[in-house]
């Protein structure tokens, strides 16, 4: 097992390395001078532009040889220095991002975990009862086919505008500043509900369908038939089928992370919810490349960490991996 984890660790480090390199590389390969492009958007007076340009060139280290720029980038990274945000100048990028991270965790963690559990259980039940299957399955297909942003728009419009049940922008009322009080928490939850619901519903559909199919597959497997032939009660067979069907759902979660990131992004845009997704939108609109690069890095780190966590969980849960399976892993 140690070998397995060493391989995984190596893989993640390699991926991180590659991702950071891509992040650093792309601005340098895009047409045009990045600093110039940045500044031309800012619409400043000519002399000011000159000064700022010189500052940035030195800040970027663009006057240094390429390899040194690259090393500097890594150096800065390890010091937690992701540059200064242009949009929220002079706030450092790292601060901007860290301010947004709690909102993302508040939104994503419950949405992912709850939809996974609920979806799996629903899918399992649907695999057993025909009538439930006939209603849940088509609905799940529709849900999983729904683009995140559209469901968000739908919910925002239906529940927010038409029925006026929930607010549709921000993480809390604009009249408040974050502080510890029931009123604030209440406002927080009110603003949280719609984005959470839209993420939850789409993901739920996916898990429900996946689990239903896996359970059916497991119920028809040879070991299930054998138990049936030996008179085992349905409850035992279902229990085994469920446990075995959950395993691919765990790896499925790791595979879905990329899509979930995209979905969270779109949802935050719709609800102006101040997570990293919203930051990205602002960064794009305001041509704040530092912020954009910082967000990208954060997303990468988050996804890699989540993948690693899921790998650990999987090893704990699937006994076969502990018995020294070779190959196939990395």
């Amino acid at each position: 097992m140690g070998r397995y984890f060493r391989r995984k660790l190596l893989f993640y480090l390699l991926t991180f390395f590659l991702a950071v390199t891509i992040d650093w590389l792309i601005p340098r390969f895009m047409p045009g001078d990045p600093v110039q492009t940045m500044l031309s958007r800012a619409a400043m007076r000519a002399e000011a532009t000159q000064v700022i340009y010189g500052y940035y060139v030195r800040a970027f280290g663009l006057d240094l040889p390429i390899w040194q720029q690259y090393l500097n980038f890594w150096n800065a990274l390890f010091h937690g220095d992701l540059g200064v945000s242009l949009w929220l100048f002079p706030k450092p990028v790292i601060r901007v991002i860290l301010d947004a991270v709690p909102y993302d965790i508040l939104l994503l963690l419950p949405a992912i975990l709850l939809s996974w559990f609920a979806g799996n259980n629903f899918g399992a039940i649907a695999a057993r009862r025909r009538w439930l299957d006939n209603t849940v399955s088509p609905l799940s297909y529709i849900l999983t086919a729904t683009p995140y942003m559209w469901l968000a728009l739908l919910l925002a419009w239906a529940l927010g505008i038409v029925l006026r049940l929930f607010p549709i922008s921000g993480a809390y009322s604009y009249a408040m500043a974050p502080h510890l009080s029931w009123a604030f928490i209440g406002s927080l939850l009110q603003h949280w509900f719609l984005p959470f619901a839209s993420l939850f519903l789409v993901m739920f559909g996916g898990w429900a369908i996946g689990m239903r199919n896996m359970i059916i597959y497991e119920l028809e497997a040879d070991y299930s038939r054998y138990l049936e032939a030996l008179g085992a009660p349905r409850g035992l067979i279902r229990k085994y089928a469920f446990r075995n069907a959950v395993l691919p759902q765990i790896t499925g979660l790791a595979l879905e992370l990329g899509k979930i990131v995209a979905g969270a992004l779109a949802t935050e845009v719709v609800f102006s919810y101040p997570g990293i997704g919203y930051l990205i939108l602002q960064a794009i609109q305001n041509k704040d490349y530092f912020l954009l690069q910082g967000c990208f890095l954060f997303i990468i780190i988050g996804v890699l960490l989540a993948n690693f966590a899921i790998d650990i969980v999987y090893v704990v849960v699937d006994p076969r991996t502990r018995v020294g399976m070779q190959g196939e892993m990395a």
Binding site: A221, D222, Y223, R225, Y226, L227, E228, A229, L230, G231, A232, P233, G235, L236, Y240, R243, N244, L247, D318, P319, R320, V323, M325
Partner: protein, 330 residues
């Protein structure tokens, strides 16, 4: 009488209609008898075997009566049949190598299976260990996962599990098909040992391989296209078969020491009929070299000699002539 089957008829439901897989099977298996069930692929032997323990869709019970140790087996009733499964009737399935839940330790699975059948695992454990020893499996196999065992070991494990509660009737379905010749011999002998040691009362060994049956079977039942062709003591089937199909079958077996130049290896020309709309009367008549007009009527499964049953008009005719000659000579 251990097992009595009368007129058992089972069809398969398909989109195009019913496939008449088993037609009017009537035979007996005595206490302590090992009956081989032989025939080509698709002749209905697996259907017969499964209909005695797990008759579920797409199989459909049409008619018949099955009695085991004087008690009627409600094979058509999945619920009521459960009481008999594992305890009175058991099966070693064709897919034995995949019959164990891959994510459960073998011992744990057996314990859960037994508890679910209201048998205390602790009470059976010493006997279980004794039997593992008998089949040359190490006792700590109970602490392993199926993936840690070789194919042969898994098969022996399944053999032990299936016979753990000393069933009256054991059905062994093609258990040697996936093995090499040396293992086949070992497994066949193990089956015979189980019977000798009293772990099982009667055995039905389903296979298309005659040589195994010659090794351990007391009697052999030959099937063709869903109908019973011939049943007789093993010696009689091999050396004095009466049914034309059995004769051709035996003739097609290679003999040790015979070269190709001396005697050609013969198959049986033609193919078995499709059982969706089977031909009327004897289903072998289209391939049978001895067929005549009478064969359009279904021949009865008749006892020509003590313990020797044949379903063939020609054989009946021969027997009649023999009887006349004996009468004349006497």
């Amino acid at each position: 009488m251990s097992l009595q089957v009368q007129g058992l008829t089972v069809y398969y439901q398909t989109l195009w209609g019913d496939v008449r897989a088993l037609e009017n099977a009537t035979f007996t298996v005595a206490d302590g008898e090992i009956m081989g069930l032989a025939g080509e692929s698709g002749c209905g032997k697996t259907t017969l075997g499964h209909s005695l323990i797990l008759l579920k869709p797409p199989m459909r019970f049409i008619a018949g009566r099955v009695t085991l140790d004087g008690q009627e087996l409600p094979t058509w009733d999945m619920e009521r049949m459960n009481a008999f499964r594992f305890t009175k009737v058991s099966i070693i399935p064709q897919y034995a190598m995949n019959a164990l839940n891959p994510t459960r330790k073998i011992g744990k699975m057996i314990a859960e299976l037994l508890e679910s059948r209201k048998v205390r695992f602790k009470a059976v454990l010493p006997e279980l260990k004794r039997r593992l020893d008998l089949v040359k499996l190490p006792p700590d196999v109970l602490n392993m996962y199926p993936i840690e065992l070789s194919g042969g070991m898994k098969q022996r494990m399944v053999m032990v599990i299936s016979t753990l509660l000393n069933p009256s009737l054991l059905i062994a379905d093609e258990i040697t098909s996936a093995l090499d010749v040396a293992s086949q011999k070992a497994v066949a002998e193990m089956l015979a040992d189980f019977r000798d040691l009293g772990f099982v009362n009667s055995l039905i060994v389903i296979t298309h391989d005659m040589s195994i049956l010659y090794q351990i079977a007391d009697s052999i039942l030959v099937m063709y296209a869903g109908q019973l062709a011939e049943k007789a003591p093993a010696d009689a089937i091999i050396h004095t078969p009466r049914h034309p199909y059995t004769r051709l079958l035996i003739a097609s077996l290679p003999e040790v020491g015979v070269r190709y130049s001396q005697k050609r290896l013969m198959g049986i020309p033609g193919r078995p009929p499709l059982l969706l709309h089977p031909p009327s009367g004897c289903r072998f008549r289209e391939r049978c070299p001895l067929a005549f007009e009478r064969c359009l009527e279904e021949p009865p499964f008749v006892e020509l000699e003590k313990g020797h049953f044949v379903a063939c008009w020609k054989a009946l005719e021969e027997e009649g002539e023999r009887g006349e000659r004996a009468y004349v000579e006497a």
